[in-house]
């Protein structure tokens, strides 16, 4: 069975597992569960724990084979063990930041995991995302180095702190790695939120009130701050749209489950005002409409898409592209560029995105794989070459040629 069809079955499974439609939902569940390769596809999403818990609860009623549950449990235990480790390391780091008086917000992952999924074994984590104030980044760096983390994104950096400051300021985030015995822990430290360059600059995401109305959560035994539910919703939507271009089941399911948990509590008028521009509302509206399409019209919050997405914001064929992206496991670079050019809600905005990639020195700033700066006059040709190369690679992959 095609991977996209399997992913569609997984989404049907999520919808049915949370449905109140009794026999109809049960039949849908049985259909999905009888699909060959489904358990492997579930494991590939990194959400074995979430599915294992729900399927185990409904095991007798649906007649699910014990071997299915057991197979998912093996993955769940592995995820749980790793996440327990991540949680302990995160708690330690949060305490260190607090003791130094560095304000911080825990983003995504652990911050809402127990509220949305029930426990921390539900899905895999690859890193811990922390948001700090821009002025605190050097102090945060000191803490991380004291905790034996190493800067990852410039492994050979040996210059003074001032240079580090200048270099990382361009990126707005830095990645840190620590080896602990046989395990590795990754930290993404953000002082700007740029989930999808260059749209984040276009949307002025840094001006959104990320630091307002934060709520408290306990991670391990450490108190932490997390985004308010409204801002968390916006962050998940922008992360899914901008950073992942609506690709990948895990982020989409997490977005849907957050809606399931908080959809009735969110202050939609506030979110609409926060989203601000037509472009930002379009991104959020697409997420909500996708959730309605795959989870059903009764899913909490999804009907709000009509207040965010205006008909003139989409080009013909654009929305089906995003629907298709959700079912893909990974995005191609070509699809990424295409989505970024399409994301703005107006023709003018789309032209600005295209101009960025063709003429802005930050659009494509390096020769592919060499690390050398691209002469500005050649950028347009290089941009077209990259797009053509991606299309050619995509065709070869589709035809099965090496």
């Amino acid at each position: 069975m095609k991977k996209s069809s399997l992913n569609q079955k997984i989404l049907a499974l999520v919808s049915a597992l949370h449905s109140d439609c009794g026999a109809v939902a049960d039949q849908s569940l049985r259909d999905a569960l009888s699909t060959p390769g489904l358990v492997d596809a579930i494991k590939k999403t990194g959400m074995a724990g979430y599915f294992c818990a729900l399927l185990d609860e409904n095991r007798k009623r649906l007649g699910i084979a014990p071997s299915v549950i057991e197979e998912l449990k093996v993955s769940t235990r592995r995820t749980a063990a790793k996440n327990v480790f991540y949680e302990a390391q995160c708690a330690r780091l949060l305490c260190s930041f607090s003791s130094r008086g560095i304000p911080h917000i825990l983003l995504k992952g652990l911050s809402y995991m127990e509220d949305v999924f029930g426990d921390i074994s539900a899905r895999t984590m690859s890193d811990i995302d922390l948001l700090i104030r821009p002025d605190d980044r050097l102090r945060a760096l000191e803490v991380l180095l004291e905790e034996s983390y190493a800067v990852y994104f410039i492994p050979l950096f040996q210059g003074p702190k001032e240079d580090f400051h200048k270099l990382t300021d361009l990126i707005g985030e830095a990645h840190f790695v620590k080896k602990s015995g046989a395990l590795t822990i990754n930290i993404d430290l953000h002082w700007k939120l740029r989930p999808g360059y260059p749209m984040s600059d276009y949307l002025h995401l840094d001006k959104l009130p990320w630091w307002e109305n934060t709520t408290s959560v306990v991670i391990g035994d450490a108190p932490a701050k997390r985004l308010s539910p409204d801002m968390q919703f916006l962050h998940l939507a922008l992360h899914l749209g901008l950073h992942h271009q609506y690709t990948g089941l895990r982020w989409f399911i997490e977005f849907c489950l957050f809606l399931k948990r908080y959809g009735h509590e969110l202050a939609w008028d506030n979110i609409n005002a926060l989203a601000g521009s037509k472009d930002c509302r379009k991104l959020v509206g697409i997420c909500l409409k996708l959730a309605e399409d795959y989870m059903g019209a009764s899913w909490p919050g999804v009907a709000q898409w009509k207040n965010f997405l205006s008909a003139d914001a989409l080009l013909p064929g654009e929305y089906p592209l995003y629907r298709h992206c959700v079912l893909r496991d990974s995005r191609s670079r070509f699809a990424s560029y295409l989505c970024m050019a399409l994301f703005p809600a107006t023709i003018r905005g789309r032209m600005e995105m295209i101009r960025h990639f063709l003429f802005d020195p930050e659009g494509v700033s390096f020769w592919h794989g060499t690390g050398k700066k691209l002469p500005k006059g050649l950028q347009i040709f290089y941009g077209l070459y990259i797009v053509g190369r991606q299309m050619f690679a995509g065709r070869r992959a589709a035809s099965g040629k090496p």
Binding site: K82, V84, F85, E87, A88, G118, D119, G181, A182
Partner: protein, 89 residues
């Protein structure tokens, strides 16, 4: 004098859905404990001996002393072999 049981400080653990998940951060190996084993693990606090923990568990579970003590000895042996628990004193 009876030996005291102590958790290996390198172990991180958490109760999740009725099971305990234990991870040895040094080796990267992980372990799952069922409900009864989990209760035993939670009672290891660095001050209690195996016999003292067995007494507490007898109050908690409807099981005869001989069976429980036999099971706990086997479990303790397994936990020590896997370097999850240390025996002191």
């Amino acid at each position: 004098m009876e030996k005291i049981l102590k958790k290996n400080p390198e172990i991180v653990w958490k109760n999740i859905r009725g099971e305990s998940v234990l991870l040895n951060a040094v080796t990267g190996k992980y372990y799952g404990l069922n409900k009864v084993e989990c209760s035993f693990w939670e009672k290891i606090d660095g001050t209690r001996s195996l016999a003292q923990i067995a007494e507490l568990m007898l109050e908690e579970f409807n099981v005869d002393r001989e069976t429980l003590e036999g099971d706990l000895e086997a479990l303790t042996k397994k936990l020590i072999e896997n370097n999850l628990v240390l025996m002191e004193g």
